[in-house]
């Protein structure tokens, strides 16, 4: 499996990579998606979402991908009439790598960066944050951000 293009997370006005896929949870719970073109090896999920944490909530604000019958995938194709969508269906932790690339792995989201920031959501609401340095040898340091 090829290294995958990550999702994008905007938090505190800054854009970062996000190694998680909350939209697949929506589909897993019965949400509908158009039939996508999965032909790009670096994007097996068929789309790339941009997410933003606003007022402590996780919002999907943009979607890029390819529809099988032709044309680009837009947010409105999944959520008609919406320009941002609150991810109330999502509970779990997302990882957002930061800093220099330490070790490239040609699989999934396995590449290692200087830092990993973790954001824990409960029904789309941010409830906990922490980070971990991947530079230090031995046990990683876990610290609460806020």
């Amino acid at each position: 499996m090829t290294a995958q293009v990550p999702e994008q997370l905007i938090i505190d006005g800054k854009s970062h990579s996000m190694c998680a896929d909350p939209l697949s949870v929506y589909v897993g719970l019965g949400g509908k998606m158009p039939d996508l073109d999965y032909g790009i090896s670096t994007l097996w999920r068929g789309y790339r979402g941009t997410w933003e944490v606003i007022n402590g909530g996780l919002y999907l604000i943009d979607l890029m991908g390819f529809i099988r019958k032709g044309g680009g995938l837009k947010l409105g194709d999944v959520f008609p009439g919406m320009d941002r969508v609150f991810a109330h269906w999502f509970s779990g932790v997302v990882r957002s790598p930061r800093g220099e690339l330490l070790k490239y792995e040609h699989i999934g989201y396995a590449s290692e960066y200087e830092w990993d920031y973790f954001y824990e959501f409960e029904k789309g609401i941010l409830i906990n944050t922490s980070n971990r340095s991947n530079n230090a040898k031995g046990d990683p340091v876990i610290g609460v951000l806020y």
């Binding site: 897993g28 719970l29 606003i54 490239y104 590449s111």
Partner: protein, 192 residues
């Protein structure tokens, strides 16, 4: 000699065909290239680009021109294999009796599953954007059915574990169809 010319012309036409398809695909994935570069900085090095953008395509082009019947054979083989691939069997998850937690009525569930959106832009209906799934669940209910919440551990094709929660209809004590409210990867799952 005429056969050699014919072979070369066919080879050239096939090469042009493959090149066109490749260019179309490259256009399509163009927006990914910046992301891919960020993902793997080595992609921007001179030697990587020389190898990836010039050496490999040139070698592939020469090979295709010279031995195009093999390219056609491989293409047919690929198409045939695509057709042969059986779709993965759908998840046959079922709620067990031991997974049941608590009995609820419809009004209670609709109250519990109202979405609390910090920006107040989500549909103000139970289950928010997944309201259709809830309505579908309700449409299948019978007067004999009870609704119970549940929490189940499930292994997905024996690869990884999931913890599923939701509501299930229970008829004569037996769990039946369900609606999921969460589906979280089980980090403690151990392959037996």
């Amino acid at each position: 000699m005429i056969y050699l010319y014919a072979y070369a012309v066919i080879g050239l036409l096939i090469l042009l065909g493959f090149y066109g398809v490749h260019k179309l695909h490259a256009l399509k994935i163009g927006y990914c290239s910046d992301l891919l570069n960020a993902l793997n900085p080595r992609r921007q090095s001179f030697y990587y680009q020389l190898f990836n953008d010039y050496a490999m395509p040139s070698l592939a082009g020469i090979l295709m021109f010279c031995v195009w019947p093999i390219a056609i054979y491989l293409l047919i083989l690929q198409l045939l294999c695509k057709k042969k691939v059986k779709p993965i069997k759908k998840d046959c998850f079922k709620v067990r009796k031991s997974d049941l937690l608590e009995n609820f009525n419809i009004l209670q569930i609709e109250y519990l599953e109202m979405v609390i959106d910090p920006l107040n832009i989500s549909p103000q209906v139970p289950f928010g954007y997944l309201n259709k799934v809830w309505l579908e669940f309700l449409s299948k209910l019978d007067s004999k059915d009870e609704i119970w919440s549940f929490k189940s551990k499930w292994n997905v094709r024996r690869i990884h574990g999931e913890i599923k929660t939701g509501y299930v209809s229970v008829r004569y004590g037996q769990p039946n169809f369900y609606i999921l409210t969460s589906n979280i990867r089980d980090e403690n799952y151990q392959l037996n």
